[in-house]
């Protein structure tokens, strides 16, 4: 049988398309990633260890983990609440809420950061009041967390809304008709049905929360050892021409991203059917 199926391209075309795609991935993704790790270990393991254990780097790592540890749970709760409201209920203004959830995706991160400076900064709307009461938001942890929360808040909701809409309301109605309270219904029926999608959304949120540069850069103030997160610290080291240290910290951040990627792939592989409904 020499006949091709209608959608089959000739072999030479297929092969060259695959080669082009692989080459593109190699140049755009694999090469830079390899460069990060080679540069990071160019001066050997001791130098790498020294670069990541130096006090300012340690402070940046701790701050990044702390910011993620605060903003990921916040967005997890918010995302679940918002998707539950949108997918399982009808109310006026629902489509407006859905558009608002997407807003951080369409706004440049720098603008998101600036908004908080305008609100809470020394010359901002709430600035004088905050100063009188000795509350520091901009150039401090609260500002960094706020900016991170803003930038990462669509991830969980975006993942869950299509999933929950595809699952419909039947099971919830069944639970209610069987005498379950609203909370029991949520805990025993809704939550177990979305757990893998939720975990997936949390991973995406976490990856972005640790890697966010633009918005955090505006509100952080770049105080070494105090308000520098890992991405900001990498930029500082780079600007100081301390390339090997910059790459060492960068390799750590890239490593965290790679772990996220591996977990994501495992999730997709194990629970792909459930996640498909979420549009990924």
């Amino acid at each position: 049988m020499n006949r091709r199926r209608p959608l089959d391209a000739p072999a030479w075309l297929k092969a060259s398309l695959i080669l082009i795609a692989l080459g593109y991935i190699a140049v755009v993704i694999l090469l830079p990633l390899a460069a990060v790790f080679t540069e990071a270990f160019a001066s050997g393991l001791p130098a790498w260890l020294e670069a990541v254990s130096e006090p300012d780097a340690q402070a940046a790592i701790k701050l990044t983990l702390l910011v993620a540890a605060i903003s990921v749970p916040l967005n997890c709760v918010f995302g679940v609440a918002a998707s539950w409201a949108v997918a399982k209920h009808d109310f006026p203004g629902k489509s407006l809420l859905v558009s608002l959830i997407d807003l951080p995706f369409s706004v440049s991160p720098v603008v998101s950061g600036l908004v908080y400076v305008l609100l809470f900064g020394a010359g901002g709307w709430l600035g004088p009041w905050l100063q009188e009461n000795d509350i520091q938001i901009i150039f401090a942890l609260p500002g960094i967390v706020l900016a991170t929360v803003f930038v990462t808040f669509p991830f969980v909701a975006r993942e869950l809304i299509p999933l929950m809409q595809a699952q419909g309301r039947d099971e919830e109605e069944a639970a209610l008709s069987l005498g379950a309270t609203g909370w029991q219904t949520f805990r025993k029926v809704t939550l177990p049905n979305i757990k893998w999608g939720l975990l997936y959304g949390v991973l995406l949120t976490n990856a972005r929360a640790m890697g966010e540069f633009g918005a955090v850069s505006v509100v952080s103030g770049h105080i070494r050892g105090e308000t520098n997160t890992m991405p900001l610290h990498i930029e500082l080291l780079y600007n100081d021409y301390n390339l090997s240290a910059a790459f060492a910290v960068a390799s750590l951040l890239a490593g965290l991203a790679l772990i996220t990627l591996v977990l994501r792939t495992i999730l997709e592989w194990r629970h792909g059917d459930e996640l498909v409904a979420g549009g990924h």
């Binding site: 039947d170 099971e171 109605e173 069944a174 639970a175 209610l176 008709s177 069987l178 005498g179 379950a180 309270t181 029991q184 025993k188 029926v189 177990p192 049905n193």
Partner: protein, 238 residues
């Protein structure tokens, strides 16, 4: 258990689903709500269940006004067209759900709950399938599980929304007679929604024919056949 629907109206987005509809269902009867799509039969069933609320009018169970009582406290059994089984629970967990969520002080003991599961599995003739998951069952088996689950709390009556709609003809036939047998065994007042004339006439003691949010006729199958009350009923039966 008698059910009384008193001048109930319901509007969706300016479109009337039910208009001043009244209906009285005597104790122990097996009633079909029959009508074309859009006639309001599912809306009526959901309002009786408490899954939707009427704009006007009242619902009475045994003379008690339950109009503003939420679905959880109405103690009804509801069977959905698409089964609505909890996909992450086994058959046994599905059936016992209604008992598990009861307040501790009124909840039966664990062994009693398990015994109830076995009893219901044998009632719907699914003995030994308690540990399966819904996806491992056929459509007919899933609907039997849904039926068992709805009966677990010994509801005051049973409401079924197009219970055979998603099944093929042979399974439908089987499940129909199973449902009728169970109804006769338990003597439970039951209402089922259908758009299938033949099904309504084969199964029900009394049929309410709905059109355009109103009841055209509510009578026994024989009486409807003998004397259709309106032109609509006559046309619908032809």
């Amino acid at each position: 258990m008698t059910i009384e629907v008193r001048t109930v109206s319901k509007t969706f987005d300016g479109h009337s689903a039910l208009r001043q509809l009244s209906l009285e269902i005597p104790d122990g009867t097996f009633v079909a709500l029959l009508g074309p799509s859009g006639s309001g039969k599912t809306t009526l069933l959901r309002i009786i269940a408490g899954l939707a609320y009427a704009d006007n009018g009242a619902i009475l169970f045994d003379g008690d006004d339950v109009t503003s009582i939420p679905v959880q406290q109405r103690n009804i059994g509801f069977v959905f067209q698409n089964y609505a089984l909890f996909r992450h629970m086994t058959v046994a967990e599905n059936i016992t759900f209604g008992l598990d969520v009861m307040k501790r002080r009124v909840r039966p003991r664990k062994q009693d709950r398990l015994a109830r599961v076995e009893e219901l599995l044998s009632l719907v003739r699914l003995e030994g399938l308690g540990q399966r998951y819904p996806t491992q069952l056929s459509g007919g088996q899933r609907q039997r599980v849904a039926l068992a689950r709805a009966l677990a709390r010994k509801p005051r009556f049973l409401l079924l929304d197009e219970p055979f709609g998603a099944l093929d003809a042979k399974v439908r036939q089987e499940l129909r007679s199973a449902l009728r047998t169970i109804h006769d065994q338990l003597g439970l007042t039951s209402i089922f929604v259908t758009h299938d004339r033949e099904e309504a006439f084969a199964l029900a003691d009394r049929i309410a024919i709905l059109n355009n949010g109103q009841i055209e006729q509510f009578d026994s199958p024989d009486a409807i056949n003998a004397a259709p009350a309106t032109d609509f009923v006559r046309d619908f039966l032809d």
